[in-house]
């Protein structure tokens, strides 16, 4: 309204400046064209002003453009999370349906700015960069749908990653106001920093009905196994600092403790360990002379000596990750990134993605009470295992911790696996780093079975046009008692196979196989081997020096008593 008033008042203001007709004419024409262009442009953008589909570079949207929603004081509050919720009781599986791709569809609510009746926002930070990244990653993934009616899982755009920035009651009201909330059914909330002082609950305090919680820092008492998903606490250093992958192996320090918020009792314990074991242990704290802020997050000190964090993590074989007031620590992510084996001391903590990740291969979990025995316990771990753990730790970080995208999509994949368990990812897919995936051998016939003779075997004979040779083979092989079936593959397009019943008798048997003696044939086969090896990327064939013979082969023993007397006689 005011905008249009402004423009109409401008019109007359231009008139006194007009000196000639032409000038008026051109100015008018120009301004009309300009106005028209602006108008068309705005018209085009307007219906999508929040969810623009236009070219990225032109997009000047901002969080502040999101529609404002006022929450009345009396707005309903969801119930507290129900601890007995499981997928079969609190999750509506009908929404996910049967689909050939076995993939759940995830809908994200458009962004809104919730404020209470007096206009104070429900969150001090609003949409954080991390949550923005997370939602964007979901929207770019195969899980995403913009069709709310087809969605199986709903992700609110209300950012609850950090409980500290939230007003609990109002946030809950905002959740309940989501159009498809329906008692939180099939809604997924992401929270990394739950609880608040002084008790620091281990799960988000916002009442949330039946919503699933992807939470960082669950304890065994708040985690609803098979329903919630335990996620890592994202470390912003992951994006800022590049730590190149280091080869597994022994490092300068054996144990490193680099966290700053360690309870003084535990710090005293660590210092005692340091006294006993000296150089093997490096015990860092925050630098007292540096001011607080982002810079201090990147430095650690020991007796005035300053170390770069997280780089120093790469200098140690084991890195302590002690609980703070909260169980989940962002330091875990830094430690994994550095390929340092985390030593986790946080009783009752549900490790991130523990539903699918085998943490025993990437970390050492020690009860808090046994902190004093840490050194002895770690010393007992074989070197080769430490190396495997270092590799595994780095791989976990790369695949599941390194970005909000990785965290978000892993969470969705875990939920997807629960809904379509028969199409779920395997243990190997989750846990084996690529280097192992390529070098390991997993036989499809892995059960050690000694097959009985009863079903016999099927012989498959490939042939071209040497009928006589074929008949010779057939005659010989048909004498075998355990032959169940004989299959001849006729591989000649120019000739049809011989017809009718043939008596398989070896004719003359003189045609010596001249083919394999042929020089060019050998050369061709060598070329094949090289070609195949290059396609496989490696030479999969293995050389052995043994060959299977019957037990009494060539033994000085009556031939008629041998099971396979004729072997080697030809």
């Amino acid at each position: 309204m005011c905008a249009s008033g402004k423009y109409s008042s401008r019109g007359p203001a231009l008139i006194p400046r007009m000196k000639t007709r032409h000038r008026i004419y051109y100015i008018t024409l120009f301004s009309v064209v300009l106005l028209g262009l602006i108008a068309t442009g705005m018209f085009q953008f307007w219906p999508h002003s929040i969810e623009s589909t236009a070219d990225w570079t032109l997009d000047k949207r901002s969080v502040h453009d999101a529609p404002l929603v006022r929450l009345p004081v009396s707005s309903p509050i969801p119930e507290r999370g129900d601890l007995s919720c499981r997928m079969h009781t609190c999750f509506d599986v009908y929404r996910c349906g049967y689909n050939p791709k076995n993939r759940i569809k995830v809908y994200i609510y458009p962004l809104q700015r919730f404020v209470d009746e007096v206009g104070v926002p429900i969150s001090s930070t609003g949409l954080s960069r991390e949550y923005n990244d997370l939602l964007s990653a979901i929207s770019d993934s195969d899980f995403y749908t913009d069709d709310v009616t087809r969605a199986c899982l709903f992700v609110p755009s209300i950012d609850v990653l950090n409980q500290n920035s939230l007003r609990i009651r109002e946030t809950a009201q905002a959740l309940a106001m989501l159009p498809r909330w329906d008692k939180g059914m099939n809604h997924l909330l992401f929270n990394m920093l739950p609880g608040g002082p002084p008790d620091y609950n281990t799960a988000l305090d916002v009442p949330r009905d039946r919503a699933l919680l992807a939470g960082g820092g669950f304890s065994t008492w708040t985690y609803r196994q098979g329903y919630d998903v335990s996620i890592p606490v994202y470390s912003p250093l992951s994006a800022d600092v590049e730590l190149p992958e280091r080869q597994p192996g022994p490092r300068r320090y054996f144990i490193l403790s680099s966290q700053t918020a360690i309870h003084r009792e535990y710090r005293a314990e660590l210092e005692r360990l340091k006294e006993e074991n000296g150089e093997a242990l490096l015990l860092l704290d925050k630098c007292s002379n540096l001011s607080q802020g982002a810079a201090s997050a990147r430095k650690r000190c020991y007796k005035g000596q300053v170390y770069d964090y997280p780089q120093i993590l790469q200098e140690s074989s084991f890195c302590v990750v002690l609980r703070g007031a909260r169980l989940g620590q962002a330091a875990l992510s830094d430690v994994l990134q550095a390929g340092c084996v985390p030593v986790i001391l946080a009783d009752s903590y549900i490790l991130p993605f523990s539903e699918v990740l085998d943490w025993k291969r990437a970390s050492v979990v020690i009860p808090e009470e046994k902190l004093s025995e840490m050194y002895t316990i770690l010393k007992s771990i074989p070197h080769r295992q430490v190396e495997e753990m270092q590799r595994q730790a780095r791989w976990f970080w790369e695949a599941y911790f390194s970005s909000m995208k990785a965290i978000g999509l892993t969470t969705l994949q875990i939920i997807n696996d629960r809904i379509y368990p028969y199409a779920s990812r395997t243990y190997e897919q989750w846990n084996n780093p690529p280097v192992v995936k390529w070098s390991s051998v997993n036989s499809p016939l892995f059960l050690p079975l000694i097959p009985p003779r009863a079903p016999g075997f099927t012989a498959v004979v490939l042939t071209y046009d040497r009928i006589e040779s074929l008949f010779r083979v057939i005659t010989e092989i048909s004498k075998v008692p355990s032959l169940a079936k004989l299959l001849v593959v006729w591989n000649n397009q120019n000739k049809s196979p011989p017809e009718g019943e043939k008596k398989f008798k070896c004719p003359e048997c003189t045609a010596i196989d001249g083919l394999s003696l042929d020089q060019t044939h050998m050369v061709e086969r060598s070329e094949c081997i090289n070609k195949f090896a290059s396609v496989f990327g490696t030479m999969p064939l293995k050389v052995v020096e043994h060959r299977a013979d019957p037990v009494l082969y060539k033994d000085d023993f009556p031939e008629k008593l041998k099971s396979f007397p004729n072997i080697g006689s030809l």
Binding site: M1, A3, S4, Y7, I24, T28, S31, F43, H48, E51, S52, P67, R70, L71, S84, R86, V93, Y98, S128, E130, L135, S139, Y144, D146, M192, P197, W221, S235, R264, E265, G324, A325, D358, K360, I366, E369, S380, I381, P382, R384, P421, Y422, T426, Y427, N431, V436, W438, S439, P444, L445, L447, P448, E545, H546, R547, D549, P550, V551, L552, Y553
Partner: protein, 744 residues
């Protein structure tokens, strides 16, 4: 001029109108989005164009290091106090190891289990007796409650269905009067049935206090993760030990059987658990999906019978349960009155992939078994989708599911003993926490009961995972020569043997000589000079079993085990070792023996005759993985080891039993060599144990003793011998790498 002016006004008016529309248009939806009108918004507003897009720039980062946390934290109560406080807060239904288990009892003596003495006049079911005797026969058992970490009641708690004849009355009072009960702390209570008609609750009818439950048919809601153990429902006929093998004898490809999906069982017309079974007929197609129910059960079934009962009952009688079980690719396992059913184990054994329809059942040993690899977890709510779901499963996956059913059946379920041991091992892993098994150890061959984490937590230290990890065993071996006669002359076979073995290119730094002779050790210079160091260990108690002790001085994966009178050339040692590298989980060696069933005497027989097959390779000249030393020493019961030590015989047979029961495979005999003992009998004064006529008879007895402890005959016959590739072929001997083998 006037016209121009009019045009101008017209244009600007038009432009203003457009603008007005634009800006006004934004305000319209804003006003519509008021909280009072959210209902119609849910129907419209969100559908079109509600695509989420990233917001560029200006978004605040969230900070995981909040200062208030670290500052406030130190003022906090001490973590020690906090830990102690947990015990009081989280009890009963919220029990966890941290809050309801006393770890300090396990610190001094490790994981030891005490079983209360049985009281006279107390009735006990056969199943519970089997459970108790399995524990008493295990290596965890202690008869001293002072040493115990875990306590097991001798009161039968298996059947807590009040209507059952097995129900033990007054359990509450009986338990409270036990002096060691201690509120149930560190106790484990086994239970198969709880609750009764009509609601079948999971209450046991007495206060279990801090005790853990090892319970069948436990629901996820009542299951206390990492505290309780979900066990399978097993029948009273379930064998105590040994147990039947799985049904799968060979892999058929493609893996489809006559039926795709079968079920045969009772239909409950009303009450708990009736919904799913009542709906099964929708899916039945009487061709490859055969789901049969009967109403005929219980006394008054006629009273409740519905319109379909007669038809269903008739169809039900047409099919044989066993025939269906063994000829179906998938077997439906729907819940009964309780969540678990016998059908689960039956399907598992029959290699019929279980399709679970039992919402909320915490599957047996769910803490360690990844059931997605052996079963299809269905959802009762999606019953109608089950046929299309199982049809969508790829052949490769079916093949793998089926094999995994067999592995799991034999590893954890086929006897009461296995079920009990698995339960105990799970708890041990929790108690010890640091040396505990990874998921891979539990879910791949040979399974957690044979993979002891106290040996190592590194997968590469075991003989089973090389291929999985894409690594190879260490390419050296350590030879252990077992000596029982004094060294008197330099022409003794041991001298020759020592020289031959030391010359092997694969021989590591150490050759151990286990001096189990009563005479003192010979002087150092009496041993021949070798390029590799020789370590002489004097056996402490000079018993046979000491040759299989897991010595710290064995640095290699492979052990070459030798008798002092073995005759072996360097070439033979080299060849055997290269073969072992391909089969690191098996015994690879020269002297082969066989077992057979003597039907006249109805017992196992032992033979050293030349036969067309063999099932043992004696440890007088064999290579095997170092881990088997550890397993021999810790896994086998003292009774068998003592027997071996007392008669100084059979240790090699026992080792073969052990390895075959782990691998389910025969050992490997390498190349032609019949003569591996020096035939010096009569020439020297020493009494070779091989010359003793009792020796052979003892070995027969051993076979039968061992077979009875293992519960079945683990040895497997083989007809294969591995020779060097050009062995005895008509080519020049110069082209052969292992030519010395033929010259011997």
């Amino acid at each position: 001029m006037q016209a121009k002016k009019r045009y101008l006004i017209l244009f600007s008016a038009g432009a203003c109108l457009i603008l007005l529309f634009c800006f006004g248009g934004i305000q319209v939806p804003l006003s519509r989005r008021g909280p009072t009108r959210r209902d119609d918004r849910s129907l419209t507003g969100y559908r079109s164009g509600a695509q989420w897009r990233r917001f560029p720039g200006v978004v605040q980062p969230f900070s995981p290091w909040d200062q208030e946390e670290s500052d406030g934290y130190n003022g906090h109560i001490s973590p020690r106090q906090k830990r102690d406080a947990i015990t009081g807060v989280y009890s009963g239904k919220r029990c966890r190891m941290e809050s309801c288990f006393d770890f300090s009892l396990c610190e001094r003596n490790g994981f030891k289990v005490y079983v209360y003495p049985q009281q006279k006049g107390e009735k006990m079911s056969e199943s519970y007796q089997n459970i108790l005797s399995s524990i008493e026969g295990s290596r965890f058992y202690t008869s001293d409650p002072g040493q115990a970490c875990l306590f097991v009641l001798s009161l039968d708690t298996l059947d807590r269905d009040q209507l059952s004849p097995q129900y033990v009355h007054n359990l509450k009072a009986k338990i409270q009067s036990l002096p060691l009960w201690n509120g149930g702390k560190n106790h484990i209570i086994f239970n198969l049935y709880s609750g009764t008609w009509p609601d079948y609750t999971e209450d046991l009818g007495f206060d279990i206090g801090f005790a853990m439950l090892a319970k069948a048919s436990i629901s996820t809601e009542n299951f206390r993760p990492n505290f309780d153990v979900s066990i399978p429902l097993f029948s009273k006929d379930h064998p105590r030990t040994g147990g039947e093998r799985g049904y799968l004898k060979h892999n058929s490809i493609p893996p489809f059987r006559k039926y795709m999906l079968v079920f045969k069982g009772k239909r409950y017309l009303t009450g708990i658990g009736s919904d799913t079974r009542n709906a099964l007929y929708h899916v039945h197609n009487s061709e490859d999906v055969v789901l049969l129910t009967t109403c005929k059960h219980g006394k008054d079934w006629q009273k409740h019978k519905d319109a379909r009962c007669d038809k269903d009952n008739a169809e039900y009688d047409k099919y044989d349960y066993r025939e269906m079980l063994y000829n179906s690719t998938f077997c439906l396992v729907p819940r009964g009155r309780r969540l678990g059913s016998f059908r689960f184990l039956e399907a598992l054994q029959a290699a019929c992939v279980p399709v679970m329809l039992s919402n909320g059942w915490e599957l047996p040993f769910s803490e360690i078994i990844n059931w997605n690899t052996a079963a299809v977890i269905g959802d009762e709510r999606l019953l109608l989708q089950i046929p299309s779901t199982v049809r969508s499963i790829h052949q490769d996956k079916i093949l793998s599911l089926r094999q995994q059913t067999q592995f799991l059946w034999e590893a954890y379920f086929n006897s009461v003993e296995r079920i009990v041991l698995t339960t105990l091992e799970i708890i041990q892993d929790r108690v010890l926490q640091h040396p505990s098994r990874s998921s891979l150890m539990w879910n791949s061959l040979p399974g957690g009961l044979f993979t002891l984490p106290q040996y190592s937590t590194y997968l590469g230290d075991f003989p089973f995972y090389y291929a999985k990890l894409g690594i190879k065993p260490y390419s050296k071996f350590t030879a252990i020569i077992h000596v029982v006669t004094p060294l008197v002359s330099q022409s003794q076979p041991i001298i020759k043997l020592l020289v031959a073995v030391a010359k092997s290119q694969y021989c590591a730094q150490v050759i151990q000589i286990l001096w189990n002779c009563d005479k003192p050790l010979p002087a150092k210079h009496r041993w021949p000079a070798t390029s590799v160091p020789v370590i002489v260990i004097e056996g402490e108690s000079k018993v046979m079993s000491s040759r299989f002790l897991p010595y710290d001085t064995i640095p290699t994966d492979a052990v070459l085990s030798l008798d002092e009178d073995t005759v072996l050339s360097t070439t033979e040692v080299d060849f055997a070792f290269t073969v072992w590298q391909s089969f690191p989980d098996r015994i690879v060696g020269y002297p082969a023996r066989s077992h057979f069933w003597d039907s006249n005497k109805e017992r196992w027989g032992y033979t050293s005759k030349w036969t067309n097959d063999y099932s043992m390779v004696l440890t007088g000249a064999a290579i095997y993985h170092r881990y088997y030393h550890y397993l021999y020493t810790t896994y086998l019961p003292t009774s068998l080891k003592t027997m071996v030590d007392q008669i100084s015989n059979c240790e090699d047979i026992l080792m073969n039993f052990l390895v075959s029961s782990v691998t389910k495979l025969p050992p490997i005999k390498v190349t032609q060599k019949k003569q591996y003992k020096e035939t010096m009998m009569g020439q020297t004064s020493r009494a070779s144990r091989w010359a003793d006529p009792d020796h052979f008879a003892q070995r027969q007895t051993c076979m039968n003793k061992f077979a009875s402890w293992f519960g079945s005959m683990p040895l497997v016959h083989s007809q294969m011998r591995l020779d060097p590739v050009l062995f005895k072929d008509q080519v020049s001997i110069l082209r052969k790498k292992y030519r010395d083998i033929e010259r011997l």
